[in-house]
Subunit: 157 residues, 2 copies
DNA sequence: TGATACAGTACCATTTTAGTCCTATTAGAC
DNA sequence: GTCTAATAGGACTAAAATGGTACTGTATCA
């Protein structure tokens, strides 16, 4: 079921190698070697992460990539959004009004709420946790799915 | 990000039309007309749902499909699993040991936990809720993501 | 000014997805 | 019995997404 793309997985691995205890700057070549991912692919992923503002790049000699903000401030949702773009769980989530069935459907809205809930949960999962360098006790993200809540009502702050 | 396939969406719509107040049996043709989904596609989806045990089929004259169990006992996770198969969030979730990066990775496990957590959350979302015929107050699924919990520890019963 | 490294984008191969069609097989009605 | 209504199970195709590569340009530093 529900899967993230290989690219997102790569992105996580790459980001993990940039998430040292203090900020590190590494070149695409170095990261490719560290991770075992092909250089071209590594490069592509890094560019996407840069565009999304998750990493900061420096050009020229002694250039490279570094996290744009602390690992604790980068979430799983950030990574997914950066690499896969803002694709919704269903068609109508991203392009409302495009679906022929929309009138007779009634189901789409529900999936959208599920979508939002999952997204919110993923926003609570930080890079530090994904890399496992966060110690054993984690701030457990408490996701409360919105189904049934009235539209517009926020469950979490 | 994370999306369900169109087929899963169709499946939900179709199941919604089978989830009346009392058990209904409908033919593929009828469901195709009700939902506006092509007959061939409707048929295909129904067959998958049958194989997964979500609907029960009767052949021959006056045959058709009906829910195999109450709508309240069918979850979003059931539907996704039925239509999309047991695909994991990452490669290594479904086929451990296949990934070259697995040793240097350390990230895979985390995604798997996230995966499990999401799956569990979706298991708490019932067809009745997806169709919206469940009234306003919903048994709010409380998903607690497992990141950081020691392996093997179950957070929910 | 040359070497290093990122930026952008176009491109291709492969896989997945969506959708169709055809041939059984089963069950009821006459 | 046999005709008809229905599902079962595939095989198959077209289109789109994905994963991966290559090429050309631009910025930075020594």
């Amino acid at each position: 079921m529900l899967r993230i793309s290989k690219m997102t997985d790569y992105a996580t691995v790459i980001l993990a190698h940039l998430a040292g205890d203090e900020p590190v700057r590494r070149t695409a070549v170095a990261l490719a070697e560290l991770t075992g991912i092909g250089l071209a692919t590594t490069s592509k992923v890094l560019k996407e992460l840069q565009r999304a503002g998750l990493v900061a790049s420096t050009r020229g000699a002694h250039g490279g990539y570094a996290l744009a903000r602390p690992a604790a401030a980068i979430s799983a949702a950030d990574i997914i959004d950066a690499v896969e773009g803002p694709v919704g769980l269903t068609e109508c989530a991203t392009h409302p009004g495009q679906c022929d069935l929309e009138s007779s459907c009634r189901v789409g809205r529900s999936w959208q709420r599920v979508n939002v809930a999952i997204h919110r949960a993923l926003a609570d999962v930080k890079l530090t946790q994904l890399t496992g360098r966060d110690g054993a006790a984690m701030p457990v993200p408490d996701l409360t799915i919105l189904l049934g809540a009235r539209p517009g009502v926020r469950v979490r702050a």
